[in-house]
Amino acid sequence: MSLAVTSSVGQHLASEVIQTTTGMMGIAWLIPLLPLLGFVLVLGTGKRLGERSALIAVGISGVVFLLSLGVTAELLTDPGTYVRPMPAWIAVGPLTVTYDLLIDQLTVVMLLVVTGVGFLIHVYSIGYMHGDARYPRFFAYLNLFLASMLILVLGQNLLVLFLGWELVGLSSYLLIGFWFENREYAVAAKKAFITNRVGDVSFMVALFLTFAAVGTLDVLGLVEQAETIASGTAFALVLLFLGGAAAKSAQIPLYVWLPDAMAGPTPVSALIHAATMVTAGVYLLVRLSPVLVMSLPAMEIIAYIGVFTALLAALIAVRQDDIKKILAYSTVSQLGFMVLAIGVGAFRESIFHLVTHAFFKGLLFLVAGSVMHAMANRTDVWRMGGLRKAMPITFWTALVGWLAISGVPPFAGFFSKDQILTEAYFHGYGAIWVLGLAAAVLTAFYMSRWFFLIFLGEPRYGADVHPHESPRTMTVPLIVLAALSTVGGLALNAVHTGPLYRFLEPTVGPIDELGYEPAGPLTEAVLIPLAVVAAAVGIGLAYLAYVRRDLSLGRVAEPIKGAGAELLERRFFVDELYEAIFVRAGGRLARGVTWFDARVVDGAVVGSGVASLATGRIVRRVQTGLTRGYVGWLLLGSLAVVGVMVVQVVR
């Protein structure tokens, strides 16, 4: 491997950034390129190949996973921050943007999650999408998504990251609206795109400000010069990036698109709207953590946005009845945990939770898909029940996913969530710790409800549904993800300063100067058992409410009614509020402007008398067949011009 020290970044990091064009790093550009080619290929040959075209897409996702493993292996043998130089994208004036790839510890963690889970979900989709009229196109879009997400993860320039950021948005739009014949689904797709565009404006302004502050859009350039950014600028910059992240990672106030995004086929919900794309905002903020630490006030805002999102979404999830909507709000809530972790300076804990969440939430969504597959696409959890017998593999893997997300040791979610909450406590955020714990109780509660209603008790579906276990292509990914959800936490970071924590160290911003003090005298010996108690309380309450009471009574709907329940069921009326502000008030404004344009602007310019007079006169000519004459005159005139020119030339 040829190593050359780059001179393009500043002095401090210069010795640590290694430019390379050889080895696995040298061909890392294949990782985003192959699925992009797959997209084009499958789209082009889909009609001819039919369902066989899936093999191309699945094969490519497998190859890309292997390539990512190769890159990771190379990084492990020779740890460092690598840059693979690539051609320029935009170069004008002082703005230079190249397609360079950035490969460091954070990159490979993301690469493995995206390609690993991505591959499994490609495989799962073979069975799940079987028989769909647009089967090849689905796989083409999956490959497009994979390519986009990998561009996002690998980009060394923020604008290339933004390219991936927007292309995952496009993939998401295409896949949410995959069954566009259904108007609601099409509307959901558009809502996702537009909401993300709002975040994009924030992201773009962040890029403008970055350029104004440090004169480059390179990630390494920005990170390197982070310390030179004035605190006011840093505050604005971090909040602007947060605006972008809040849309992509579904945080308050821009989370509203994600629950609607469940209109897409379930593998899409698992891959894009749970395991990978929605974590892009978290990745962005961690990637920029050296900038974040320049503004403690901005970080605190991030922390509160995160914890309130976690709590709000968990509350809403308690009263949803749709098998996927519950998981969607759960995803919003879990993303809230990741964001709150970033806000309290627990960057690596946030990535740890990102990884375990990809395992167990990917798993839970695939379970939901398997259940819907068996239930003729019914989604009301109150109309399920007793599926443990009909679908043993789905049941056991679901059990693992449920315990993992609920925070039961030794499953993966326990470690990552607990480490976030203890870190919040140790960094002095007592209130956030308490609120986070409350959200954890709610999580255990609503996920238990989800699990109990689907799998326990007696069947509550009609005689016309005959549940059956899903085909092998679907159950194998379930088993793999269940295995990862079981041992993933233990293996990666069983103790707070475990292997993953140490591995990620060189990639995150330093927090030692932020002056964090513990919120109280409690130690991990107390905090960890408390987290276990939180999970137990949530599960226990759900057991009492649903298994002991409702299921034994044979209920098929939520029994408790009241103002509070109504508020949760209607999701705090946030959608209605936005509708009133943006659609109705915005619509009135737009109608007003349009009226102004037609009556005032156009009216003033064209004095109606003059217009009609002139119109009348000239129109008469056009209508009396003189147009031929016009063309004739036109040609004659041109001829004259040409004649003069020719004469001049000859002379």
Binding site: I90, P94, L95, T96, E181, F208, A212, Y630, L634, L639
Partner: protein
């Protein structure tokens, strides 16, 4: 006679051949197509002798024209004009191919009008004599007027007249200004002579205003834009494509070539106002586009919004933003041209442009739906397609000059997504209902052939705009130096400077 003159004369020659034909039918179409393709080939050949390192006007062809008044037929190009000439000659054959089966009435006249229009536009971009420029500039009105007035829709006459009067009145003011400059330059219309004239601040203000009005109408800039939706709605498909794709650029080109370097003090003085007008235009055009029920009017208002970005970049007066504004002229020509082609193809099938008349079409006509989406995404500046690589540097550059303008204009991106995807959803998504929608045929081979080159270029520029920037940037820097703003150096140029110092 140089290559530039030949490029300009090929379409004129084509029109002459058409005039000599005595019958409509297939032959005139072939003649026009061959002529337009030859023009495109000739303009591509211009790239060979063109020196990318030379920021000035080059490939000069000069013929004494009217010695008595010192007017010459003087043609030359810089990177900016070459880029726009290539855009023009690229679009014209596509327009002719797009109209292949749909124009049945007075075919020769229609085709001749387009070829003459093409020649006139090349003349506008290449003229370096002010009188010649003015003649070409005004001459473009005549064929366009006829194209709208003869081959247009139901209300074509009123629209044609509105278009004609509006732009002619704007042009007259400029003529007065040109004559004044002619006097000041000691009886010369030559570009360099006028450039050398030193004018007082007051003179600059008035003359700048005269040029600005003429060009603002063409762009069109808010609030003198209302002729555009009418003209677009009534124009035949080819007319709309040429209007949006090329003619609107005459305004922004004119600003950059004439108004800025001739009147540097006035430019710097008025720049903040123009930034404000541009931002208003971006948001205003987008909001009005949202409310349109007619898809052609929607795209017309989107042009008002998008051309606002071009003006924003022009008057940011930085290398980044102003170069990007030239790139965005090309991009807007490609994506809006493609959108009007698609609308035209759909109109030929359905004879309506009402968005409400369509629904669920993606199921029935997937190829058109796919292309429509790609072009819409290009227009709403999705990264990876051409619109973004122009829009982003414009916004970035504008932000460095005026933060409020940069931030407000960025909201145009949300609105563009809103009106384009809303229209797309209503037309192509949802259930396929009604016999009309169920019987809509997908694109044929010829139509795909027209759109394919556009989509290829849209993607190519989106992923690798560097050659285009390399073409236009030196010429933009030249203009900015004339305006007297500090030209930003690229990073590598700075590195070279440092080495020199060592």
């Amino acid at each position: 006679m140089g290559l530039l003159t030949i490029t300009l004369l090929i379409p004129v020659f084509g029109a002459l051949v058409l005039a000599m034909l005595d019958r409509d039918g297939r032959t005139p179409k072939v003649v026009a197509l061959v002529a337009s393709l030859a023009t495109f080939a000739a303009s591509l050949a211009l790239l060979v002798p063109f020196d990318l390192g030379d920021p000035g006007l080059q490939l000069t062809d000069r013929l004494v024209w009217i010695p008595a008044i010192g007017a010459d037929i003087a043609l030359a190009v810089d990177g900016t004009s070459l880029a726009l000439i290539l855009l023009t000659t690229f679009l014209t054959p596509l327009i002719i191919l797009a109209s292949w089966d749909t124009i049945t009435d007075r075919v020769r006249g229609y085709l001749a009008a387009f070829l003459l229009l093409e020649a006139a536009v090349i003349g506008v971009f290449a003229a370096t004599d002010l009188l010649l420029f003015y003649i070409f500039f005004e001459f473009t009105l005549v064929p366009m007027y006829l194209i709208i007035g003869i081959w247009g829709g139901a209300a074509r006459k009123a629209a044609a007249v509105k278009f004609f009067l509006y732009t002619l009145l704007g042009g007259l003011l400029m003529l007065v200004a040109i004559l004044y400059l002619y006097g000041q330059a000691g009886g010369s219309f030559a570009y360099e002579d006028v450039l050398a004239v030193s004018l007082s601040a007051t003179e600059q203000r008035w003359l700048f205003a005269a040029f600005l009005i003429a060009f603002a109408v063409k762009v069109p800039l808010f609030p003198v834009h209302t002729w555009l939706p009418d003209a677009h709605t009534e124009a035949p498909t080819g007319g709309s494509v040429f209007l949006a794709g090329v003619l609107l650029k005459l305004g922004t080109f004119g600003l950059l070539r004439y108004a800025l370097p001739f009147f540097p003090e006035a430019t710097r003085e008025f720049a903040p106002w123009l930034l404000a007008i541009a931002v208003v235009g971006i948001l205003y055009g987008a909001v009005v586009a949202l409310m349109q029920a007619d898809i052609k009017r929607l795209i017309a208002y989107s042009s008002v919004s998008h051309m606002g970005f071009v003006v924003l970049g022009t008057f940011a007066l930085t290398t980044t933003a102003t170069s990007a504004s030239v790139v965005q002229m090309v991009n807007h020509g490609l994506s809006t041209g493609a959108l009007f082609l698609l609308v035209g193809f759909l109109y030929e099938r359905r004879h309506t442009r009402q968005i409400a008349a369509f629904g669920g079409l993606a199921k029935r006509i997937p190829v058109m739906a796919g292309l429509w989406l790609v072009v819409s995404l290009s227009s709403l500046a999705l990264p990876g397609l051409n619109g973004f690589v122009g829009e982003f540097p414009i916004l970035l550059g504008a932000f460095q000059v005026n933060r409020t303008a940069g931030v407000l204009a960025a909201f145009g991106a949300v609105l563009a997504a809103l009106y384009l995807l809303w229209a797309y959803q209503r037309m192509f998504h949802g259930p396929l209902e009604g016999a009309d929608n169920e019987n809509t045929a997908d694109l044929g081979a010829r139509e795909i052939g027209v759109l394919a080159p556009l989509v290829v270029v849209i993607v190519a520029i989106g992923l690798y705009p560097k050659p285009l920037y390399d073409l236009v940037e030196p010429s933009v820097d030249r203009v900015l130096a004339e305006v007297g703003v500090e030209v930003e150096l690229a990073e590598d140029e700075l590195a070279v400077d440092e080495e020199d110092e060592r």
